[in-house]
């Protein structure tokens, strides 16, 4: 369960990215966060990933108050998350399989188990054949799918995705969104930031609408 209570985030330069945000996301829920560019979607995900700290209010994930989480506990918290970027970062001196296995490697998973689980994750996104390719040789769509495979390889409790289909064409972005729905059906809490409202209507999931950092709409699909 993820709970925001009156969360605000101000940056030093005076920009107010999030304003008095309060909501609750249940376990195994799938939620879209939508809004225009600069609405605060990415900041919201950063607050959940404990990349940013709120200026006011508190973020609680499964009973843990992230604002009071000691620095030494942050790695173990982040291991429960899977994060997909719009422009995925890779270790360019390692192949696709090693990149996908990175979240497993950092927790000391045996090498054979890393290979097995990273291969399974790549298979899931249809890229097992590119396991030994270097990331730079992949197309944009392939890189996005590798990023997703990396985010799911360690079986996270929560999957955060920031504009995961931002650089992709229609069919491929639908395929990727279907993957997220599939993970959610397996019991993963999925939170996707997107400005493309077409996905919300297609997948029929709960959606938050942000405007200038404030939550202006939070309705389950059924209520529309």
């Amino acid at each position: 369960m993820i709970e925001f209570s009156h969360v605000s985030k101000h940056y030093r330069e005076g920009h107010e990215a999030i304003r008095d945000l309060s909501f609750r996301i249940e376990r195994e829920e799938m939620v879209f966060i939508t809004g225009h560019s600069g609405a605060g979607k990415s900041t919201l995900l950063k607050l959940i990933a404990r990349i940013e700290q709120p200026t006011r209010g508190q973020v609680v994930v499964d009973g843990k108050n992230l604002t009071r989480l000691p620095r030494r506990h942050i790695p173990s918290y982040r291991r429960r998350l899977g994060v997909v970027f719009q422009d995925n970062k890779f270790l360019h001196d390692r192949d696709v399989l090693e990149n996908v296995g990175l979240p497993l490697a950092v927790r000391g998973t045996p090498a054979s188990e890393i290979r097995k689980r990273a291969s399974a994750a790549l298979d899931k996104v249809g890229l097992l054949a590119r396991a030994h390719a270097m990331p730079i040789t992949l197309s944009g769509g392939e890189q996005q799918r590798v990023g997703i495979a990396r985010a799911i390889a360690h079986r996270p409790d929560v999957l955060l995705a920031d504009e995961p289909t931002g650089n992709l064409d229609g069919d491929l972005s639908d395929t990727i969104m279907d993957l997220f729905r599939e993970f959610n059906e397996y019991g993963v809490t999925v939170i996707i930031a997107t400005h493309d409202r077409r996905h919300i209507s297609r997948l029929q999931k709960r959606a938050f609408m942000l405007k200038d950092g404030a939550l202006i709409e939070d309705r389950p699909w059924d209520a529309r």
Binding site: I51, Y77, P103, V106
Partner: protein
């Protein structure tokens, strides 16, 4: 528990292998880094080796010396022999020989330096003497203390031993050794800074990678490990290279030094760092490299946090 131990060793072994591969793939960079450490370690170690060798050399000369104990003229031959026998029993002494005034005069006459002059003397001017051979292991300081003790014996008029130059040389060696220690401290700090700076640059170059690792839940220890291993291995290789420099220096100098000593009638041979030196210098280099990298990584890793989602 067994799995945790296995994982403990596995992650470290993986990091070590990765670091070794990186060092092997960049031989020029690895060599230059090690060479800096090598020179910084070889300089004070060479200075230390120099003082050890000079000490050994002066110790050898010191051993050749005899101490002449001049007794009062009033001391009888019997009392002189008894005193020589007593001194010979002292732990600092190998042998003590009594030379009566008559024997002394005869020895002087046999030397042939004075011709008939000695025969013209109205009486024997020589005092009774004890010629004492100190133990080899006795240092110049120990011998000086022993001589001071001998001077307090009532029958002893004066004691003669040419130790001044050895004492001066040894005092000089203390100064050189102190300079060596100060140089070693300064160069150790330089190694810490050089390896620390190298680690800092590596961290800056791999900032994106570190951010990514932090985002997927890597602990600071996991991220720190390759940098610290790199520093420690650079230090280790540097120490080994430093040992090689000293060993080469020794082999280049050993023959001319032995030849020079031989010309002075001495069997002195140069002592180099020896095989044990590779452990000493390698160990010091390893520790300094580890520490330098550990401090630098500890300082800079905290500044890097993932920024992108």
């Amino acid at each position: 528990m067994d799995t945790r131990i296995a994982v403990f060793f596995q992650v470290r072994a993986q990091a070590l292998v990765a670091v070794l591969q990186e060092l092997v793939y960049a031989p020029a960079g690895t060599f230059l880094g090690a060479a800096v450490v090598a020179v910084a370690l070889a300089l004070p170690a060479g200075l230390y080796g120099l003082t050890v060798n000079v000490e050994r050399l002066t110790g050898g000369w010191n051993r050749g010396n005899e101490v002449s104990i001049y007794l009062h003229r009033s001391v009888t031959d019997q009392a002189g022999r008894r005193l020589a026998a007593n001194l010979a029993r002292e732990p600092e002494v190998v042998a003590a020989r009594y030379v009566s005034p008559n024997s002394g005069l005869q020895e002087l006459a046999r030397s042939g330096h004075f011709g008939n002059t000695l025969a013209l003397l109205p009486h024997n001017p020589l005092p009774p003497v004890i010629v004492l051979k100190p133990r080899n292991a006795l240092s110049a300081q120990g011998l000086s203390a022993f001589i001071t003790e001998i001077r307090t014996i009532p029958d002893v008029a004066t004691v003669e031993a040419d130790l001044k130059w050895v004492q001066r040389l040894q005092a000089g060696l203390v100064v050189v050794r102190r300079i060596g220690i100060l140089l070693a401290i300064a160069l150790a700090l330089a190694i810490l800074v050089i390896i620390g700076n190298s680690a800092r640059l590596q961290i800056l170059n791999r900032r994106g990678e570190i951010e990514l690792m932090k985002l997927v839940g890597a602990t600071d220890g996991f991220i720190r490990r390759p940098f610290v291993y790199t520093g420690a291995l650079q230090g280790l290789f540097g120490g080994m290279l430093g040992w090689l420099l000293l060993a080469l220096g020794e082999s280049a100098l050993s023959f001319p030094v032995a030849h020079l000593a031989h010309l002075y009638g001495n069997r002195f041979t140069l002592h180099g760092p020896g095989l044990a030196g590779i452990l000493d210098l390698g160990g010091v280099g390893f520790m300094l490299g580890w520490l330098g990298a550990r401090i630098a990584v500890g300082r800079h890793l905290g500044d890097i946090e993932p920024a992108q989602v």
